[in-house]
């Protein structure tokens, strides 16, 4: 049975290594600052006890005041999983760091988030729209699209 790690416990571990990077944490998930995202993600992947080598998915949610990018990680060896998020407060051309260097599976998913939500990921080798055609105006999955 896959154990969902407690967000608070993982947050405590992350705080030790990278003080100040955790914004808030709850049982189910934790929120990390955008600037320390790459460092924390690398820590989560490379630490042997956590060992999150498998990225389930990346997605983005539009909460009007900010975007929240949700990551779900799983460790195949230890059979535990966790969810972490990061927030982006800019609405005009938001930019976040890309985790493609750590988990290659983020490739198409980050392009999808850019296509539908407008969040650019720097460090991504091929930041182009994926479903909609080049030249499409707007980002359809945002809450204020055509409403």
């Amino acid at each position: 049975m896959t154990v969902a790690l407690s967000g608070k416990k993982v947050a405590a571990q992350i705080e030790e290594k990278f003080p100040g990077s955790v914004v808030e944490s709850s049982e189910g998930s934790l929120v990390i600052k955008g600037e320390s995202l790459l460092a924390v993600a690398a820590f989560l992947r490379d630490t042997p006890e956590l060992g999150f080598d498998y990225l389930n998915y990346i997605t983005a949610v539009d909460y009007y005041s900010h975007f929240e990018i949700v990551y779900q990680l799983t460790s195949l060896g230890h059979n535990h999983t966790m969810m972490f998020k990061t927030r982006c407060y800019r609405r005009e051309s938001p930019v976040m760091p890309s985790v493609v260097g750590l988990w290659q599976g983020a490739d198409f998913q980050e392009r999808e988030i850019y296509d539908l939500m407008g969040i650019k990921f720097e460090g991504h080798p091929n930041m182009k729209r994926i479903f909609l055609w080049e030249g499409f105006e707007g980002y359809p999955l945002r809450k204020d699209y055509l409403s």
Binding site: M1, D53, V70, Q72, A106, F108, R129, F131, L132, P140
Partner: protein, 372 residues
């Protein structure tokens, strides 16, 4: 041998294996850079079937979204229904009656059989066995579709599961028909393996072709038969059992080499294991209600939930965010087909055009899921 050592000067050219093609399993387009017959690079182009399903989810009620989930992976609709209903039930804290759980498992496993029938048949079609294995598998798939027709009146997009259970109970003639079908399928699969498992030409075409290493597979987030063929012993039915899968005895087949031949073998073995599960479920199914009473316009409490299942293509998951209204605030589908395609470029470089088609066919994608 490397292409740079060739004595003749050749120029690479770009071939567009377009959205309309007899073998791209839907409207998938790739722009392939070829040097003669050797593939140097491949760039996938998606979006021909993008219907904005995730945006549509925000306009429809939770129950009204179920028919849309059918059309995501249209070849394996029951699995989509199941994943979505599990996500909403986790969000809303709804418990599903026993009988409904058993029937859901039966439907999901029958759907796995039907899906693998198409995939293995299409794989052989790509190999060039001119429709013969395809037709034999379709003959069996017809029987499965007849069973589904008996239950919900539909052959392809079922809309059968509901939040809290199923839309209706199975008719009386379903279980006898299922029990008659299972030994037929078992015999057929054994006969089928005799025909084609050791075929020289198939071994030459598929063994060692399109190898996906274990590390790349884990890094890319590959799931399903593709991952298991590369040696990753990860099946959500055993690793993170959902519904009542922990009550059944079955094995997880996996391969070692990660080539096209292993993926085909893993799928054939999965068919046999699904038959085992079906036998056990058909024996153990209890009587009772099939749906918990939930309001039609259900309003789950504010929060988020992620539920995933082992669909025939891989890990299919739904991430739902609710704000206590009748429609989801955000619904994200974790598409196994799209994520499995991440590794395609690496798998294909250096092989020939003929292998490109076979490797692509062995990953088993459905564009409805890739594009949503």
């Amino acid at each position: 041998m490397t292409t740079t050592e060739m004595a003749l000067k050749t120029e690479p050219f770009v071939l567009n294996i377009g959205p309309v093609h007899p073998s791209t399993h839907g409207v998938y387009r790739m722009r392939v850079t070829l040097d003669g017959e050797v593939v140097l690079d491949m760039e996938p182009v998606f979006g021909y079937l993008h219907r904005g399903v995730e945006k549509l989810a925000e306009e429809r009620s939770y129950t009204g979204f179920i028919p849309l989930t059918d059309r995501l992976d249209y070849i394996a609709s029951m699995s989509n229904n199941l994943a979505y209903c599990l996500a909403v039930e986790r969000l809303a804290g709804v418990k599903v009656p026993e009988r409904a759980e058993y029937i859901r498992v039966i439907m999901a496993e029958l759907q796995r059989l039907a899906n693998h029938c198409i995939v293995v048949g299409a794989f052989f079609n790509d190999c060039g066995a001119y429709f013969t294995p395809f037709m034999y598998l379709f003959r069996e798939r017809e029987k499965i579709l007849d069973l589904f027709d008996m239950v919900c009146g539909q052959r392809l997009t079922y809309n059968y599961m509901r939040i809290g259970g199923l839309s209706q109970d199975i008719p009386d003639e379903f279980l006898p028909a299922l029990k008659k079908f299972l030994p037929q399928m078992k015999r057929f699969v054994d006969e089928y393996e005799c025909f084609i498992k050791q075929n020289e030409i198939l071994l030459a075409r598929a063994k060692g072709v399109g190898i996906l290493s274990r590390e790349t597979a884990i890094n890319c987030g590959i799931s399903g038969p593709v991952a298991r063929a590369s040696g990753i012993k990860w099946d959500l039915r055993k690793a993170d059992p959902y519904s009542i899968y922990d009550r059944f005895e079955f094995d997880i087949p996996f391969g070692e080499a990660g080539d096209c031949y292993d993926r085909y073998r893993v799928r054939m073995e999965e068919i046999k294991q699904s038959l085992r599960i079906l036998e056990q479920a058909a024996r153990q199914i209890p009587p009772g209600p099939v749906k918990t009473e939930v309001p039609h316009l259900i309003r789950p409490p504010a929060g988020e939930a992620y539920a995933h299942i082992e669909s025939p293509k891989g890990e299919l998951g739904f991430y739902l965010v609710s704000d206590n209204s009748i429609a989801p605030y955000r619904c994200h589908v974790r598409p196994p087909s799209l994520i499995n395609l991440t590794a395609l470029r690496e798998m294909v470089r250096g092989w020939k055009v003929a292998d490109l088609i076979i490797i692509f066919g062995s990953i088993d994608i459905t564009m409805g899921e890739v594009d949503r």
